[in-house]
Symmetry: C2
Subunit: 88 residues, 2 copies
């Protein structure tokens, strides 16, 4: 991974968590996306939206209760960060 462009930011109403990840190559991007899909299946949580190109991935997590962000969303975000660290 090249570098985190920003950390998770809270946006919108109802609030969602957003983070942009930038990678050095399509291969790294692909590995992150595959790991994220596997994690989603394991924990039963899916990002509201994933937006990606060859070397970037934007992830948006919405509030699972439709109202407020809590431990569930912040824990999922931390697990996604861990995937990036593991893939370096």
């Amino acid at each position: 991974m090249a570098e985190p462009v920003d950390s998770w930011s809270e946006q919108g109403k109802p609030p969602s968590l957003h983070r942009r990840f930038v990678f050095d190559s399509y291969g790294q991007t692909r590995r992150f996306l595959d790991a994220l899909a596997e994690l989603s299946g394991q924990v039963g949580l899916h990002p509201q939206n994933i937006n990606f190109g060859t070397t970037y991935v934007n992830v948006t997590l919405d509030a699972t209760d439709g109202q407020a962000l809590g431990e569930t969303e912040r824990g999922f975000a931390a697990q996604i960060d861990a995937l990036v660290r593991a893939g370096r």
Copy 2:
């Protein structure tokens, strides 16, 4: 797949091809994304952007020469359509 929301449309300058695919389930969405990643690796072409949630995928193909859409892009678009038909 539920139904195609629209066919490929040409947008912007330089032009890009865009299409939205809607699926009945996350499983179908996932299979399409995995097949699209495999196709990209095989043909050596990658969408400029893929934007997805649990039941939709928006695909944007840019002009590989940075200027005009041609046989390469339209052929890739047709191959992507074929993945959806195969996954039904």
